[in-house]
């Protein structure tokens, strides 16, 4: 009897999805849908939080006050994005602290791009331009995701991300028209961040085990390869405009399709980084874990202060 009810509920659920009716926290949803969202949204939240680290590295060394104020604002936005997303995860019944502990234990993943080091100021430009650019490609369709709280969080995130990409591109523009050494810095940052940015969209469609179901549930609106292609098509002309060269000797424009064709991605590198063997994986997770441990006294002090304030109020 129970099985019949579940399949009827699932049928009604899919009917809502097909009609573009959003799913809200207290609505019935299949357990796999819930688990898929918890996994995806928490990974997304972790990516925002870990994503503060490569850029945080340059706040004290920004070349001038304007750049420093902008970078601070951007990194603060990333923290905000992480918080919107953790609160979305909580609407699915996941526990926020356990979710964060999964990041610290290595159980949960985050975007592999943040496991690359930021060795020069130009990397702040490349990250804003390419990494935030790729994130926008991923996130804009998520504003129409079938799960209401995630979609609403994404609307806020996307509004804020476009400043992130512009500030990064501005850094690249300035360096590219600067001295030969500055232009070389910009090119070097592009060389190091181009391929990892393409990998941000995830494995090829044929290898992506979650895509088909996520598309059916309208969690995802486009496949990994479609989004990657949109990113390449948008970004290559931007590089050309500022006189930088995309580090892909096989890259060519196909007149017939109107799309750029890229060379092969080194998926071995991608999987190595995902598995934890990227240049900064250990450092990133250690830093986050230490931040939580060192910050526990703040959590406790705020609790003690709130308790004291409550007593004073009731007196």
């Amino acid at each position: 009897m129970k099985d019949i009810n579940i399949s009827e509920l699932e049928r009604k659920f899919q009917e809502k999805i097909d009609k573009d009716i959003k799913i809200e926290p207290k609505d019935w949803m299949p357990d796999d849908y819930r688990q898929t969202l918890i996994r995806q949204i928490s990974q997304h939240a972790h990516s925002e939080i870990v994503g503060m680290l490569p850029e945080g590295n340059w706040i004290t060394r920004a070349p001038n006050l304007r750049r420093k104020a902008v970078l601070l604002a951007k990194v603060q936005d990333e923290a905000g994005h992480g918080l919107y997303l953790y609160s979305s995860v909580e609407t699915l019944g996941a526990n926020r602290e356990e979710t964060i502990d999964d990041l610290h234990s290595g159980k949960a993943k985050y975007s592999s791009i943040f496991n690359y080091p930021t060795v020069s100021w130009a990397d702040m430009g490349a990250i804003g331009w390419l990494v935030d650019g790729a994130a926008i490609m991923n996130q804009v369709p998520l504003c129409r995701c079938s799960y209401g709280p995630y979609a609403r969080a994404m609307v806020r995130v996307c509004k804020e991300e476009s400043f992130h990409q512009r500030q990064g591109f501005e850094i690249m523009v300035q360096l590219a028209k600067g001295t030969p050494v500055q232009k070389e810095m910009a090119q070097d940052a592009l060389n190091r961040f181009w391929w990892p940015s393409l990998m941000m969209f995830g494995p090829n469609d044929a290898e992506s085990k979650h895509t088909a179901q996520s598309v059916k549930w309208k969690i995802k609106r486009h496949t990994n390869d479609e989004l990657r292609q949109m990113f390449v098509d948008a970004t290559v002309p931007q590089a050309e405009l500022i006189g930088l060269t995309i580090p892909d000797k096989d890259l060519k424009f196909n007149e017939e399709t109107g799309h750029y064709e890229s060379g092969a991605i080194n998926w071995d590198e991608f999987w190595e980084v995902v598995k934890g063997n990227g240049p900064c994986n250990k450092d990133r997770v250690d830093t986050r874990r230490k931040a939580k441990e060192d910050g526990m006294w703040v959590v406790e002090a705020a609790n003690a202060y709130a308790a004291k304030r409550a007593i004073r109020k009731s007196a």
Binding site: E24, K26, D27, W28, A73, Q76, D77, G80, L83, Y84, S87, S88, E90, T91, R96, E97, P149, R152, A153, E160, M296, V299, E300, A302, N303, A304, Y305, A306, R309, A310
Partner: protein
């Protein structure tokens, strides 16, 4: 020492005078004052608001979505509550 998690708060923002407060999301804070301070940083970094309400999530009593059909049925069946239900004779332009 207490390792208790901070409670969850629902945040409502009035974007400008004349508009009502609207739910924007939730956050964790030790008490109501801290919830308002955190909401300022999390939800109004770009002048999105002039007033913040924080309500502890456990205090929100919500209708049950599985009973939505029966709860809202009485209003669905009363089309005569809408002006479009009525015929207005030709020649009357505003009513």
């Amino acid at each position: 020492m207490s390792k208790k998690e901070w409670p969850l708060w629902e945040i409502f923002i009035r974007s400008k005078a004349g508009l009502s407060h609207k739910h924007v999301g939730s956050l964790r804070a030790a008490d109501a004052e801290m919830a308002v301070e955190n909401a300022r940083d999390v939800y109004t970094r770009r002048s999105e608001g002039i007033s913040i309400w924080a309500v502890e999530s456990k205090d929100v009593y919500a209708s049950d979505p599985t009973e939505a059909d029966s709860l809202f049925e009485p209003s669905d069946s009363k089309v005569y509550r809408h002006p479009t239900f009525y015929d207005v004779p030709d020649g009357i332009s505003h009513m």
